[in-house]
Symmetry: D2
Subunit: 150 residues, 4 copies
C-alpha cells in the first residue's frame, strides 16, 4: 500500500533535518512506504569503532537500525502528530561493517494499536544477502492526545 | 579484584582517544575494574533524538551501553592485544533521556573463554535508581593469535 | 503496595490450575504483589534438557520466566478480566540449572497503559545471587472490552 | 551441503528420545542439514497457555525454538561429541498459536568456532508466511575435550 507523497516528504524532512542526532550522523531516508522504511548513512571516518580492522562502530549500526525501525513504525500510524518510541531493540552483529555506506531496511511484522514489531537488517549496498547486522525493534505507538506513557 | 593502573590508563586512552566514534560522541571512561566499567557522555545538542520532548536519541544510549559493555568484557581478558567484539545487544528503553550527562554502568555476569555476558544500565548522575535504559550485551572474546571469527 | 487477598487467590488459582501448560509443568505461585511475582517449578526428571550434565532444559527456564513475568504484569492491571500477553522475551542463560526446584522472580520496571517491561531472574532456592538465567519480558496490556490486537 | 545420513539418525534419536523434556513435549525433528533444522510439536491439550482464546503457551513456542536452534547449531560442529549450549534466546510473539501442530525452522546465520547465531521461526503447517513467533538464538560451541565454560 502506498502512502501519500506529501506524508513521505514531511517524514523525510523531519527525520533527516529536525532530529539532531540523525543529522549529526548524516542519516538519509531512501524508501518509505506502508510498513516499510530504508535509511542509510554514508561513510565518514568518525563512524569507525575498530581502528585496527577497521570496522564501523556497533553504535552506528544500532542507531541506524533503531531509527529506521521507528520510521517504518510511523508509517502505520494515522496522523503526522502520532508518535512511535522504542520499547526495546535487539541487534545481532553478524559481520564487521566496512568503510562504506551502511543501509538499513525495516519491515513491520506486527502492527497493533499499541505496539509495533519491526524486523531490521543492515548491509552495504549490493550486499543485502550478507548483512552486517540484523535485529528487531519493538515500538510503542502513541496517538495524538493520548499523553505520554510513564 | 583490582586491575593495574597501567592497564587502566592504556584502556582509557584507547577507548576515549583512538576509537573515532567514541571520540565523536565524547565518551569518557570513569571507572574500570575487573568485570566492571562505567562510562559517560556529556550532553550536547547533537545528541537529541526527539526535538519535541526533548529527549536523547536511543542511538546515543545504545552506543554508550554497547561500548561500556565492551570495556567491561575487556577487563576479563589477559592481554592488551586480546579483543572483545559484540555478538548481540539488547536495550530496554525505560524513560526518556534528559538533556544531561548520560552515565552507563556495565557488570560482567558471565565470563568465559569464548563468551562474556554483561548487564548494562544507563542513567543520569544522581538518578541511578531510575534508569533511562537497561540492557544486556554478549561479547565474543578473541585472544591474540587466534584469528578472526567469521 | 499490597493487592487484595481475594485477587491473589483468584490469580493463583487461574495460573496454577486453569492454564494447562503451567499445570503440566507443575508451576506454583509463591509470591504476588503489585508489580511483583515469584513462581517455582519443583524438579522432576521430565524437565531435564541435557542428560549428560544433567541440567534443566532451557525451555523449562524460559517458560517459567515468561509466565512469572506475565503474572507480575497482570498485577498492574485494574480488573481480573484484563489480560497481559507476551510481546517479546529475552533470556540469558548464565549457568546450568540443577536437578532442584527452579524459582523465578519477576519485577515490573516499566508499567504503562499499553506496555509493561518486566525484569526476570531464575535461580535455585538459597542461591538467588547466582542466577541460572536472567531475562526481560515485554507484555502487551489489554483491557477488557478493547478487543484483541492483531 | 548435506550431512551424512548416519549423523542425522544419531542426532534425531538423541534429540527425540534421550532429551527428557523434548520427549515430554513430543518434539520431532523433520529436517536436518548443514546449518539447518526443522522440528515440530503435535498439538495436545496440555500445551495450551490461554484457555480462553484458546492459544498455545508461549513457553511451548520458546522451548521448541530454542531446541530447534540448538539442533541447527550442532550441524556446524565436527563431532557427535561436540556440544552447543544456549547463551541467549530472543522470541518475538507475533500471533496466537492455534491448537495445531507447531513447526519450528532454524537457520544458522553466523557460524564460528565459539559462537553460532541462529534465526528462528515458528508457524503452523501451510502457514509459514504468517509466523506465530520469530526469534534469534545464540549458542556457545563446545568441542570435545575443551571442558565446560563457567
Amino acid at each position: 500500500m502506498a502512502i501519500r507523497e506529501e506524508i513521505r516528504e514531511l517524514a523525510r524532512r523531519f527525520m533527516e533535518e529536525e532530529v539532531p542526532f540523525n543529522r549529526f550522523l548524516g542519516m538519509r531516508i531512501t524508501h518509505l512506504d506502508a510498513g516499510e522504511a530504508n535509511m542509510e548513512i554514508p561513510f565518514r571516518d568518525e563512524l569507525v569503532g575498530d581502528p585496527f580492522r577497521p570496522a564501523l562502530h556497533g553504535g552506528v549500526i544500532s542507531a541506524l537500525l533503531d531509527t529506521c525501525g521507528g520510521a517504518a513504525a510511523l508509517t502505520t500510524l494515522d496522523s503526522l502528530e502520532d508518535r512511535a518510541s522504542t520499547v526495546d531493540l535487539r541487534v545481532d552483529y553478524l559481520r564487521p561493517g566496512r568503510k562504506e555506506t551502511l543501509v538499513a531496511e525495516a519491515r513491520v511484522v506486527r502492527a497493533g494499536n499499541r505496539v509495533a514489531v519491526v524486523q531490521l537488517s543492515a548491509f552495504h549496498p549490493g550486499d543485502r544477502e550478507r548483512p552486517v547486522a540484523t535485529g528487531v525493534g519493538v515500538y510503542n505507538m502513541r496517538r495524538k492526545g493520548e499523553g505520554v506513557q510513564p
